[in-house]
């Protein structure tokens, strides 16, 4: 078979003759991937998320070399890594700091999508893969948190696995299946270790590849929410507002990386516990199955959802049922198909009965689990909930932007109260927060169409540097 005809010289030419796809993919994804030239601050976090993933995988490999996934040795082995493994403290602090930074970076990355409508057509697949990555990340964080085998590791896992026992009929058996025992034990530690170091990371890396492939098929969105592929240069056929990712965005992202690493390593070297938020103080006490800590809270990045879980108490069910009834009526009048109208009313009636209907009602704990799950999964529905004529907040009514900020505030307040011990005030604030959280999403099909929209320009806003 003759060699592939190549335009490259030297080693590159040699490779290209034998594996043409190497240079084809390089051009497709880097040197000839045209990205809008008006990316701003918010566009650093995608590539930074990949950097944090790389940090987590690399440090994780080295931690695995020294960690002992055995309930008798796990806690000690982590502390031996910190003391006896040369540079072990550095590897471990990078990994523990990286876990929190992964969530910081991903939350900012998601905020960018809400700001500029990055999930809208044609980027629904990009968004769905992104949401699945977020789910994997949560799984990865949850399984990984058991491994240091401290009090918070142990009791946090106990609380979360117990949630599954709220599921009717199969619940109790399901939670035993997850733990591999009747309580969190060595068996649980071993299977969580397997999930943390191989199962979830494999899926995660695959999803990241799919996320980027889907993105590069449709092209990146930008702060103006304009499709740059609609205005091509007649001579070259390239987008007029696009520039090759390499070298322009590679040098740009390296600059962003420098700033990010300064922040990241400030934490790693000078405040690895981050005031008890990145490494919880209680987790320096070895796991003790016989002693429940007075206050169990998940790590900060889970606390908004944890607040929603705790908010769902018996008296709150009435408010939830009322909210659902109002929403069903709203849908009834909004939907055109008669079948859909009555299907919505019927479904809402069934759910309301299951919520408050005397003997038929399900445990509020189960509804808490359902709401917690829904609060994460609802992000997937964003491309269909958002009906705004303009993608970017720049061309939407100003109050849309403030509504988004309000949502962020609700998210942070829920997060703060999730770290605090339960109290009547905590419960009430979490309940109000839960209602506002879901209202933001569920009423979006209406509010995203309301107000005065500004005309969207045909070319991106960009001032040369």
């Amino acid at each position: 078979m003759p060699l592939h005809k190549t335009e490259y010289k030297g080693v590159l030419g040699w490779i290209d003759q034998r594996m043409p796809s190497a240079m084809i993919e390089y051009r497709k994804h880097l040197s000839e991937y045209y990205a809008p030239k008006n990316f701003n601050f918010w566009y650093f976090f995608g590539s930074l998320a990949i950097v944090v993933l790389a940090i987590q995988i690399t440090t994780g490999i080295f931690l695995t070399m020294h960690y002992k996934p055995d309930a008798r040795f796990a806690f000690e082995s982590v502390e031996y890594i910190m003391r006896d493994v040369p540079g072990g403290w550095f590897i471990r602090y990078m990994h523990s700091t990286g876990a929190s930074f992964f969530f910081i970076v991903v939350y900012l990355h998601m905020f960018r999508a809400l700001l500029y409508g990055s999930y809208r057509t044609p980027r629904e697949m990009v968004w769905i893969f992104g949401c699945l990555i977020f789910l994997c990340l949560m799984g990865e964080a949850f399984f990984g948190y058991l491994l240091p085998w401290g009090q918070m590791s142990y009791w946090g896992a106990q609380v979360i696995v117990n949630l599954f026992s709220a599921i009717p009929v199969i619940g109790p058996d399901l939670s035993v299946l997850i733990r591999g025992d009747y309580v969190v034990s060595d068996a649980t530690l071993n299977r969580f270790f397997a999930f943390h170091v191989i199962a979830i990371p494999l899926v995660l890396v695959g999803l990241v590849a799919a996320h980027i492939l889907a993105l590069h098929d449709v092209g990146s969105n930008n702060p103006d929410g304009i499709e740059i592929k609609e205005k091509l240069d007649p001579a070259t056929g390239k987008p007029l507002d696009g520039i090759p990712f390499h070298p322009y965005y590679t040098v740009h992202d390296i600059m962003g990386l420098g700033v990010f690493l300064i922040v990241f390593f400030s934490v790693v070297f000078f405040m690895p516990e981050m005031g008890g938020y990145f490494l919880e103080w209680n987790n320096f006490i070895p796991a003790d199955p016989l002693q429940t800590p007075p206050h169990i809270a998940p790590v900060w990045y889970f606390t908004p959802y944890y607040s929603i879980l705790r908010a769902t108490t018996e008296p709150f069910m009435l408010a939830l049922a009322a909210g659902l009834a109002v929403y069903a009526l709203l849908l009834f009048f909004a939907l055109r198909s008669r079948l859909a109208r009555f299907a919505v009313l019927g479904a809402a009636a069934v759910v309301i009965v299951l919520m408050i209907g005397g003997p038929l009602k399900l445990d509020p704990k189960l509804w808490g689990v359902v709401l917690m799950g829904a609060s994460v999964l609802i992000f997937i529905a964003l491309p269909w909930l958002d009906q705004s004529p303009a993608k970017s907040m720049r061309y939407r009514p100003a109050w849309h932007f403030w509504l988004l900020i309000g949502f962020v505030v609700v998210f942070l307040v829920l997060g703060y109260f999730g770290t605090q011990p339960p109290s009547p005030v905590n419960e009430r604030v979490s309940q109000i927060g839960t209602l506002l959280y879901f209202a933001f999403f569920l009423l979006m099909p209406w509010w995203s169409r309301m107000g005065e929209f500004k005309p969207v320009p045909s070319r991106v806003t960009f001032a040369a540097h």
């Binding site: 000690e76 420098g258 516990e273 103080w281 209680n282």
Partner: protein
Amino acid sequence: MKRLIASLCLIAGTLLGGAAHAAGAQVHLDTWPEARGRDLASLQNGARTFVNYCMGCHSASLMRWNRLNAIGLDDRQIRDFLIFGEQKVGDPMTIAMRPADAKAWFGKMPPDMSVIARARTSFDFKGTDYLYTLLRGYYRDATSPTGWNNVAYPNIGMPHILWERQGPREATIERIVHDAGGKGMVREVAVYDAAGRATVTRTAVPGHAAEGASYSFKPADPALARQYDSDVADLVAFLTFMTDPSATTRVRIGVWVLLFLAFFTVVAWWLNREYWKDVK
């Protein structure tokens, strides 16, 4: 909007109320002098106290003896002055007491001290301040099983092992508590003499008063007690060192890493500017 204002008020109320509650539940903790943690002589003095007194019951099994190289002790010094038994310098700092015996004698195994300063920290106070107050907060109490009580940890199981180093003291514990019968508040002042006999006086507090406790000590030998405070500060420095023996190295390397990253970022910024000159 009303709901928003109401919830904001609730949040503000919780934050303020929470702070007041945390302050009421706990006695005031003395601040550990942090400079001791950076002083090698203090750390070595703390190590001496720890090995001589604490290691009767408390292990530090996550530490190897030769990790003490980091506080300026060489292997020979560690072997000659700190290791009492047959252990080698590469062995972990374990103790001879068996957990089963400890349980029979004390009710539970005295905890390992390797990471105690970190484990006792919370959002409300630092573990170092807690330990500094606890170890200086003992007073004689004839009603307790060990004859000792503690202001930072009421009815503590651990007796005052270092009592000779502190000398006898008279303690005044003042508590504002709910009246046992009525609805009012009572100020309860208990004066414990050096033998642990208490004289208690109760007076009703008019109006509203927050629950709380305060204490003061009158040492028989103030100079000895001052020396003891200093030794405890050194001991807490050593306990803090053990929680994260790499901390000093970490901060030293960290400065260089950040300097490099600052340089790297400047170069990256310049490179970015040069490339982006083409983009019109």
